[in-house]
Subunit: 205 residues, 2 copies
Amino acid sequence: MGKTYNKDETKKKLISAVGEILLEDGFSELGINSIAKKAGVNKVLIYRYFDGLEGLYQKFAESIDPFNKISSELENIIKKNKPAFPEMAMFAFSSIMAVVDNNEILAEVMRWEISSTNSIIRIFEEKREESGMNIMRMIVSHYELPPSMDLAAIASLFTAGLIYLSIRSNRIDMYNGIPIREDEGKERLLSVIKKSIEGMMIASE
Amino acid sequence: MGKTYNKDETKKKLISAVGEILLEDGFSELGINSIAKKAGVNKVLIYRYFDGLEGLYQKFAESIDPFNKISSELENIIKKNKPAFPEMAMFAFSSIMAVVDNNEILAEVMRWEISSTNSIIRIFEEKREESGMNIMRMIVSHYELPPSMDLAAIASLFTAGLIYLSIRSNRIDMYNGIPIREDEGKERLLSVIKKSIEGMMIASE
DNA sequence: CATAATTGTCACCTTGCAGTTACATTAAGC
DNA sequence: GCTTAATGTAACTGCAAGGTGACAATTATG
């Protein structure tokens, strides 16, 4: 029994227990008791170290922020070899799709967002809103787009669609005849985005 | 006190209490006690008449089905004056948007769907999946579209986006800089859809 | 109007959760 | 070893939920 006292380590265990429960059982199973149990730690510590659930969620929220990376990655791509706008947009949308698809914890948090008025959940929303705006601004600054192209609306609609389908894919596998869990389905969705953007570019010439 | 014993009436009261709570407080507040209270009736009746919550939800689910109307409405439009495909698609997408936007109970049910594994909720999903397929098939049967147009993917992506933004608009008012609760925001989204479809038509000629 | 079937009410039980307190144990570091 | 910080235990309150069984009220029907 290599038992050891380490406050920071214990805090980390609690924070990651939140993620584990989200991953394994979903946000509806989150609670003082389940988290303490999962962390293998006494529930009083949540009050002592985080001042309760809210505080713990707060720290958890700060511990994951997968969208801010995308912005810098995309900026690197532009700086190396500036691709045409439709290609660039595709990089952005497939990055977003990949992030949500490959991060089940994030997906669960996004499901949580939808049903919760929880103040901690606001942190995510704000962060993601900010990251989304950053990505968009960054792209706009590097390309000259026809004024008829409402990039904000395009980004909103497409990312919303991708996110929705991604967070639904844990429960349903077909949406309107598209196998949203399969690679085939995802390709088809991305392909629509590509053609849309190309089409809008052509149409606005 | 014109008290009267009326089983059917009481059942109706219980069923519509579900909708009222969804509307006023959200699905998280649904429960035996809250429903009985809202209906002004004793909770035992839920067990006697519906065999518990599941049975009541079942009946509630059957009582609302707003998407199947759209299909026939759209078919009427086609039969009267067959508009060009992009216009027609716009009718479809704005109908879908309007249905979710103007039916707060439906919107709440959709939020519920996302977070619940509740078997009753599946009823909605299946109904909507079916309605969506119907709409698509109907449109396809009236128009000749370029084979490169993946209508199923287009419909999935755009409706998913519209639905997601609509069900988020109760908590957030800006998404990627778009005021999703305002008419302005909605117009911009629909406008993107329109231009996308037009662009894809042109590009595939 | 008496009786039985229908419909409704009430009190109660159990469970699980959040949150708190007082106290006990264990390890770390000087 | 002694002190202090870190962790654990247990017991308790309070609450809201799901669920049930005994009983009361009402109506219909003979």
